[in-house]
Symmetry: C2
Subunit: 274 residues, 2 copies
Amino acid sequence: MAERAVFFISDQTGVTAETLGHSLITQYAGQEFRQMTLPFIDTEDKAREAVETIDAECDHGGPRPIVFSTLVQPNLRAIVRESRGLHLDIFDEFLEPLTSELGEEPTYVSGRAHGMSDIDAYMKRIEATNFALANDDGGISRNYDEADVILVGVSRSGKTPTCLYLALQYGVYAANYPLTDEELENGNLPDFLTKQKQKLYGLTIAPERLREIRKERRPMGRYSSAQQVRYELREAEKIFRRYGVPYVNTTSFSIEEISSRILDSTGVERRVRP
Amino acid sequence: MAERAVFFISDQTGVTAETLGHSLITQYAGQEFRQMTLPFIDTEDKAREAVETIDAECDHGGPRPIVFSTLVQPNLRAIVRESRGLHLDIFDEFLEPLTSELGEEPTYVSGRAHGMSDIDAYMKRIEATNFALANDDGGISRNYDEADVILVGVSRSGKTPTCLYLALQYGVYAANYPLTDEELENGNLPDFLTKQKQKLYGLTIAPERLREIRKERRPMGRYSSAQQVRYELREAEKIFRRYGVPYVNTTSFSIEEISSRILDSTGVERRVRP
């Protein structure tokens, strides 16, 4: 089957069009798609170039391209709508009911969604990222008083990427602490964690998955042996249950899903919104 | 003016509904919104609870809530559509034209967009994040041969969060290198960077913004003085121009925008798609 071209067109980064389009095209299991983002289409010339790029796909005899557009300005939307692709436009569909409900005209100013209109949000995300880095892997600092949440788990259970995602996406202050050999053996959490018990959240994962992930780092030795991985996960889960720490099994979840579940389950508030 | 409730409803994380809804509501400058995400609405019971939550806003006399929904399953969509909020649903709007164009029925299986259907994508994002951490701030490793892009700039110009975002969002291998006092003084890049010249990308920023950001870290002293900040930025930009390194001024950009511009300008391919 010929791959069908999918374009994400935006006057900004294209993240909204990508997210929207991706959630729709993944609904069709029998298709092959080739995805391309055309960001920063913010002049009529660039809009016309985008139309040429889309139409070139038709000229080459490929299947009709799909175009997901989040262009804000009506003149640019009008140009891109002239392409021969299937044009799916969130502003075309949703702006009218919203305008009528809110009783206010849209500003048609682009870039308010991911722009720096909110310098404060930028600073919060940067500070949350710095916090996650400084409080990664139990170390350098242990500013757990300032943390919104402290992720606990064995090595490579997904703590670091989840903390960074929570920081970058939501400005949430997330620290993480890897359980030590000693803690796994005696089943006790250190005092500096039990003092913050209401902030603790555990990550666990299926042993086979953890082995795969650890082997990427160190293919041989105890660290990625079946026995060691099973032992660590079993003891970690015992600790979670003993201390009443809520935890999630991340085996079949993406970083987005793990993060959303943590926010949903802990009630930690997003400090910024994407 | 009374704040209007905005709900993002999803059977998954809610990221798509949040992104879509945010780009729309920011078009209305005169409104105050209170945003709430209702993720993991994946049973009829949970859908009915969501309707109660939405309708409670109406009962309390607030303005009619806005509901952005990305529910995949038709039975859940039907329940949520019964709420008294203004219901904006991407599947309602876009599934029909797509189905007709593609000649295939949607699977109606939720979670394919951000799910672990693609373990490979998860691994790539984790590995890219580990790469960014190991190659952050010029240190621990300098695996620049493996890098897709190497960000160069003065301290706090936005290198680290941008590298992490590129890794988490797109699986791109991004290293970063902070220009040293010596390099700023003599205007030379070290050999291990000039050997990778085609991968270098510079970040610069307005002096006043950099001062604000640095003051958060160290309020006093040379590091955040107006003179020092201006000097460093001037010399960094001279280096970029001298070596023909493309660069972007990040002052008025969000992390998403900086990242998109780097991908757009360098042609570096996304290894995964969000």
